[in-house]
């Protein structure tokens, strides 16, 4: 089997082949590492590749298979870890300056669960500095480049994880999401990302940003892979993600706020996605989410106060060690009065009730993940810091309400613009109802098949169509 043949296999397919003995984990791992070593310099997705660790883990999985033991639901799956999560003995950079790196003694529980399920950790991925931004223009490790157009951002802050998946450098990845950091890069890189219900996936051993908004979750190339990874990460039994139609299921479309201010092509692809859901049997109806426009205000205050609290000591000792945009965000948090922070926490309870009320008559909400596609990395009219600050507001607008409310939210590929840039569809469910979110995502993915497209990283890649396949 060629390197290219293994590179884009879904995680569940790799696990099936490894478990059956059709392919060895060492072969899969070597193929992915070889590809990563060849391509990573073009997209800068990884900060650290871990060939020694990965091959040791691969041999362990192969030994289990040879013994006839169950190697786990992620047997032999090459997984990339956002470099915000600890792996024992491997430096965690958090995307920050060297003075802030640490080498942990213990592995983050969520990473350990992946390893225990048979995953092979191939490397640690680049991110926006301390996960506090959406561009992934990192002043210490360089920008991550979007595999679909390397002059553009991948979105962030889990941009390295998303870029690695889109480029076939991993079959699964760990992301974190405080305002959209799994879903935004998933949308902008054309892959799948799930922000689970708040608190379901443990965040211990992951450098925090804002503890009441922080989530960890899976990033993958298919919804089914994300479902398997989610169950492993949450320590739950595998969720049924039945293939098939959506008969009997009602999808809500919150036109106000979530379908406003969209780029024309994003809006058009979103409408086409609604048609696809109808075709799969779902009832699609408009719903109101009262006060949805206030969620971003509460998030801005909460994240500012909590992130500054977390980085207070580092900031006072070494403010010059932070990149410009992150330093501005952190220092503004010093000027949030305690009363404003507490009002924002109280507002969260009120707004969560409003969002949950909107989900009473429907099974899920759908909307574009972002209103715009990936922006250029460079720009003559503003500095990277200025662009970072502006883009955070724009790109998190439709994702951060679900960090505030803690509701599960999935981004799935929803098509491509005429320029070949991916667009994401966000599916939101009731608290702890990841199963429905994944069911809708699976049905949509089966209809649209956008996940089969590959970025133009190799000269042999076919030209991408701009319309859904027939």
């Amino acid at each position: 089997m060629t390197t290219g043949g293994l590179a884009f296999l879904p995680a569940t397919e790799i696990a099936a082949r490894v478990s059956s003995g059709a392919v060895s984990t060492v072969d899969v791992t070597e193929a992915v590492l070889t590809r990563a070593q060849a391509i990573n310099s073009t997209i800068n997705a990884f900060i650290t590749l871990l060939p020694t660790l990965a091959l040791a883990q691969a041999r362990r999985v192969d030994a289990l298979v040879h013994k006839g033991a169950d190697p786990g639901p992620l047997a032999g799956v090459p997984v990339a870890i956002k470099d915000l999560a600890d792996i024992a003995g491997v430096p965690t950079t958090s995307g920050g300056q060297a003075a802030f790196h640490h080498t942990p003694d213990a592995t983050a529980p969520v990473v350990q669960r992946l390893i225990d399920a048979g995953a092979v950790i191939v490397g640690k991925t680049n991110l926006h500095e301390f996960a506090y931004g959406v561009t992934n223009i990192n002043p210490h490790f360089g920008p991550v480049r979007n595999p679909w157009d390397r002059s553009r951002i991948p979105g962030g802050s889990s941009g390295g994880s998303a870029a690695a998946l889109a480029a076939g450098l991993a079959a699964g990845a760990l992301g974190t999401d405080t305002g959209g950091s799994i879903r935004i890069p998933a949308a902008l890189c054309g892959i799948v990302g799930l922000k689970p219900t708040y608190g379901v996936v443990p965040v211990g051993g992951i450098t925090p940003l804002s503890w009441t908004l922080d989530h960890a979750g899976p990033m993958a190339t298919t919804v089914r892979d994300a479902a398997v990874m989610f169950a492993v990460m949450a320590g739950q039994r595998q969720l049924p993600v039945p293939p098939g139609d959506l008969d009997g299921l009602t999808v809500g479309v919150p036109r106000a706020f979530f379908w406003e201010r969209l780029d024309d092509e994003v809006a058009s692809l979103g409408d086409t996605a609604l048609d696809a859901l109808r075709d799969r049997g779902a009832t699609v109806r408009d719903v109101d989410v009262h006060h949805a426009d206030l969620a971003g205000s509460a998030v801005a205050i909460i994240i500012s106060a909590e992130a500054t609290s977390i980085h207070d000591a580092r900031l006072r000792l070494s403010r010059a060690a932070f990149g410009d945009d992150v330093r501005v965000r952190l220092e503004r948090g010093f000027f949030v009065p305690a009363t404003d922070y507490l009002q924002a926490l109280r507002a969260r309870e009120f707004l969560t009730r409003s969002f949950e009320t909107s989900l009473v008559p429907v099974d899920a909400l759908v909307m574009p993940t972002t209103g715009a596609v990936a922006s250029p990395i460079g720009g003559e009219e503003s500095t990277p810091s200025e662009r970072s600050l502006a883009m955070s507001i724009e790109l998190t607008r439709m994702t951060n309400p679900f960090n505030l409310t803690g509701l599960p939210a999935l981004s799935v590929p929803c098509g491509f613009t005429r320029d070949g840039l991916p667009v994401g569809l966000q599916i939101v469910g009731r608290r702890h109802d990841e199963a429905t979110v994944l069911r809708v995502g699976e049905a949509y993915q089966a209809a649209a098949e956008w996940y089969l497209r590959r970025p133009p990283l190799e000269p042999t890649q076919p030209t991408r169509p701009t319309q859904p396949p027939a």
Binding site: R261, S297, F334, D340, A344
Partner: protein, 73 residues
């Protein structure tokens, strides 16, 4: 990108800090932030205070406590 819709609405008021205000607060809290950076922070801090003003004017805090504040612990 399209215009930010987060503009203040009727009844909303926001404070915009002066450089002197930020300088005084920073000094009181022992922060070493140069004036050039404080000047840059003015718009960011104003935006946060703007967000707080929006919440104060739109969320019915006088009655919202009935939802149960035990979750805020």
């Amino acid at each position: 990108m399209k215009p930010d819709p987060g503009a203040l609405q009727p009844g909303e008021t926001a404070r915009r800090p002066s450089l002197d205000t930020l300088r005084s607060l920073a000094a009181a809290w022992g922060l070493q932030i140069p004036d050039a950076d404080l000047e840059r922070l003015r718009s960011e801090v104003a935006a946060l205070w703007h967000h707080a003003a929006r919440l104060r004017s739109r969320i019915p805090f006088d009655t919202a406590w009935r939802l149960g504040h035990d979750k805020l612990r």
